[in-house]
């Protein structure tokens, strides 16, 4: 897989110089994990192209569905740094790259406390164990705290895009912790 991507990238490296030699691109789009997590992400990328030889891309993604979405107080994010190459001809372009990715998928850890609960009133201390006719059914205390979960791993990417030089759409297939497939809108300057 890696060899195929590298070969594709080298084949795609255009030896003809381009003017200007530097370009910047912004990507925005969504993708879905095809692994066990079945999570969808919203991702924003920024890419700097150095001639036709290589590009450096940084990406930031947050989940929009699946496990973790809606838990606003918990960090759920992925950051990716990718080095790749791109081949462009007319309205079609192909890119491939590899890099490293970091993710943080904090969770809420819950612990049900098995220890006894007491209340105190004018008659003294009483256990709230469900046997009291005054205090009714037993009560329990649960503790909940955010658990920081961090991970990092290799990143592989291949994408096919179509459109104008300035605006195009691409389909990206990638691996970061699990296979994923996404569609992105790209704006390229100039």
């Amino acid at each position: 897989m890696i060899g195929l991507l590298v070969a594709l990238g080298l084949l795609g490296a255009d030896p003809e110089p381009v003017n200007p030699p530097f370009h910047f691109s912004g990507f925005i789009g969504g993708e879905s994990d095809l692994g066990k997590s079945d999570r969808s992400w919203l991702e924003i990328d920024a890419q700097a192209e150095f001639g036709t030889i290589a590009f450096l891309r940084g990406a930031y993604a947050q989940p929009v569905s699946g496990t973790g979405s809606g838990e606003r107080d918990l960090a759920q994010e992925m950051r990716t740094l990718c080095l790749g190459t791109e081949w462009r001809q007319d309205w079609l372009w192909v890119a491939t790259g590899a890099g490293w990715t970091w993710r943080r998928l904090d969770t809420n850890t819950t612990y049900i406390d098995p220890r006894q609960i007491f209340v105190e009133d004018q008659n003294g201390l009483h256990s709230v164990d469900g046997s009291s006719p005054v205090y009714g059914r037993s009560r329990q205390i649960g503790w909940q705290w955010p658990q920081r979960v961090e991970d990092k791993g290799p990143y592989l990417m291949g994408e096919v895009g179509a459109g104008w030089q300035t605006v195009s759409v691409c389909i990206r297939s990638e691996y970061r912790f699990c296979p994923a497939l996404g569609i992105f809108l790209r704006a390229r300057i100039p």
Partner: protein, 152 residues
């Protein structure tokens, strides 16, 4: 005057509705980590009796030595309390918890009973962590080992 009796199915439905509306989960979730278990040792348990013109008084005393994790102690209040089934005649004053000012220390407590025969059932001393709900969570306990009844 007529009273309309509630049929059994209606009662069951009413109870189910209340349960659903109120939530059957009796677990209250609190933010943060649970407090660590503390240490508690009861010693110097003693019973003294005194007799005067009004009758016989029994004084029941003990010493409690506690040790609470200092990091936990900084986060919440802790109390020391004696729990037992109140008997007749009652022990006075009614056993109440007292706030602990330091994470490690000792204290003596005495309760009294004015009667010829005084008894106490399952006396246990606890170290309590005070929860935001106002409830007390027992983080340490020690049973007072002493005969459960004293007579002249």
């Amino acid at each position: 005057m007529h009273h309309r009796a509630i049929s059994r199915p209606s009662t069951a439905f009413l109870l189910l509705s209340i349960c659903l509306a109120g939530g059957c989960d009796s677990i209250t979730y609190l933010d943060g980590h649970p407090p660590s278990d503390a240490q508690l040792a009861i010693s110097e348990v003693a019973i003294d009796t005194a007799r005067d013109s009004t009758g016989r008084t029994v004084h029941f005393s003990f010493r409690a030595d506690w040790k609470i994790d200092s990091a936990d102690f900084a986060l919440r209040s802790y109390r020391l309390g004696l729990v037992f089934q109140q008997t007749s005649p009652p022990w006075l004053p009614v056993p109440r918890s007292s706030a602990l000012a330091i994470p490690e220390g000792s204290a003596r407590d005495t309760i009294s009973c004015h009667a010829d025969t005084c008894s106490w059932m399952f006396p246990i001393v606890h170290v309590f962590a005070v929860l935001p709900t106002g409830d007390y969570l027992s983080v340490a306990q020690d049973t007072i080992s002493f005969p459960g009844k004293t007579t002249p």
